[in-house]
């Protein structure tokens, strides 16, 4: 049994696959369809595709592309970026996408979260929160569409989002994004303490050991960006994903721990 999912997180910008560094400087890394085919062949647990400019630029999701992704994904697919209305969500689900990830619209009003959860079930709604650390190490809720922080405490916001019907939480450590410097384990621990629903941790993973540590800190699933698309010190683009046996070995202590408790 392998309960912890390891999820490649792909970022889209104007139809291209990019990778950011602390949410800035998107670097083009290739054709998304090609990347999805490779991840499909590698039998990844799940896939997450996030359009990083749709909300920022007030654009519609790129339906043509999403449909192509869905046709290639024989594993669960989560799409996020620019979803503001139920009609948009309907259209995306109808293409064969399992989950939608919502941030910008939810920060304004959690109504959309409830609406999607009522119609498609909570498991189909991921609330996405970006967390930025302050100079003094505090944590702030970050609004990726406008690149500023929100006044509301992120834990309070998460509680409200879960009450509204979100079935999973994606927590992205802004300062870790693209840095390959290890996940923000303290943040994962804090978030996990607040939640009874699955938590997906994103940001900073640079090794299999980092994935294990994130799981140990309480992540139900670990989303991975740079580590799965870059290779070597010069960050050459190379798409990789651990073998099933590697992940199995990685989590074996975790699972044994669970069974003996």
């Amino acid at each position: 049994m392998l309960n912890h999912r390891v999820i490649p997180a792909l970022l889209l910008k104007n139809g291209g696959l990019v990778k950011t560094h602390k949410f800035k400087d998107p670097k083009y890394v290739g054709d998304p369809i090609n990347a999805i085919r490779i991840f499909n062949d590698k039998e990844v647990d799940e896939l997450m595709v996030l359009d990083i400019v749709a909300s920022k630029e007030g654009k519609e999701p790129d339906y043509r592309m999403i449909e192509l992704f869905a046709g290639e994904c024989f594993m669960p697919l989560c799409y996020g970026g620019g979803i503001r209305t139920m009609e948009q969500a309907d259209r995306i689900f109808n293409m064969g996408v399992e989950k939608v990830s919502i941030q910008t619209a939810a920060l304004e009003d959690l109504g959309l979260i409830s609406e999607v959860a009522d119609k498609y079930g909570s498991q189909a709604v991921v609330i996405s929160v970006d967390i930025k650390r302050t100079l003094f190490g505090g944590t702030k809720l970050y609004r990726s569409a406008t690149s500023d922080t929100d006044k509301e405490n992120w834990k309070t916001f998460l509680t409200r989002a879960v009450d509204a019907g979100a079935g999973e939480v994606l927590i992205n450590a802004v300062d870790k994004d693209g840095t390959l410097s290890g996940p923000d384990l303290e943040l994962i621990r804090e978030a996990n303490n607040e939640l009874d629903i699955p938590l997906i941790a994103l940001g900073g993973v640079s090794s299999l050991e980092d994935i294990r540590l994130a799981v140990e800190a309480g992540a139900s699933a670990v989303a991975v960006g740079a580590f799965f698309v870059f290779h070597g010190p010069h960050r050459a683009v190379l798409i990789t994903y651990p073998k099933y046996e590697e992940l199995e070995n990685l989590f074996i202590n975790e699972i044994n721990g669970r069974q003996t408790k």
Binding site: M1, R5, N40, G71, P76, G96, E98, I197
Partner: protein, 211 residues
């Protein structure tokens, strides 16, 4: 003649995913939006499902689907396959709702307990897990090279005082029936359409069952 594969389309499941995978393994399928098609035009009827029990049962009852599906299943040449919530709807009922199910496979659904000891069990059970097929499920596991694993998302699990209808089991806090069958009616708690080659292989085995 080509097999007639029909998928119930009443807005309670992800139909495109199922069609995508069937297409990948070489089969065309159609959505049906009205419960009128004669059984002679159907070899396999797929009942997908996500969402809540009563919401889905209401949809089935209101549209005349419940009677239609029961009627169809009495024609033993027609295979009826439920996926995820679709499998639950084929049984007698669930703790999640008040409404009785279609009662085509005996059994009830119970909620996973999230406080199972020191380790908190996250509910829903979401992610990949293995299925151990028993003798009843021999046809389902044909051609599997290694331990088949599938993608699961659910909060309620199959229970029945006897294991008569269980074809395969999965462990998540408890061991429960994740593949069940009663004659020409069967169901999978997981999503074969989202389970890579393991799901493809299972769907191929299902299609081999068609006359």
């Amino acid at each position: 003649m080509d097999n007639q594969i029909k998928i119930v389309d009443i807005g309670i499941g992800n139909i495109a995913s199922i069609q995508n995978m069937l297409k990948k393994i070489g089969y065309d399928s159609d959505r049906i939006v009205e419960p009128t098609l004669k059984s002679s035009n159907i070899d396999l009827l797929i009942l997908p499902g996500v969402g809540s029990y009563d919401y889905a049962m209401n949809k089935l009852n209101d549209g005349g689907w419940s009677d239609y599906v029961k009627e169809l299943s009495s024609d033993k040449k027609v295979k009826l396959m439920g996926i995820c919530l679709g499998m639950q709807l084929l049984c007698d009922g669930s703790e999640e709702g008040e409404l009785p199910g279609l009662s085509l496979i005996p059994g009830h659904f119970k909620k996973f307990s999230s406080n199972g000891g020191a380790e908190r069990l996250k509910v829903p059970h979401m992610g990949w897990n293995t299925v151990h097929y028993n003798e009843k499920g021999t046809w389902m596991m044909e051609g599997h090279i290694d331990d088949p694993r599938y993608y699961f998302v659910h909060s309620y699990y199959y229970t029945h005082p006897e294991s008569t209808y269980i074809a395969g089991t999965t462990g998540y806090g408890v061991d429960y029936g994740s593949a069940i069958q009663n004659g020409n009616v069967f169901g999978f708690q997981f999503h074969p359409e989202k389970s890579h080659r393991f799901g493809m292989n299972l769907l191929r085995n299902v299609l081999k069952q068609l006359c």
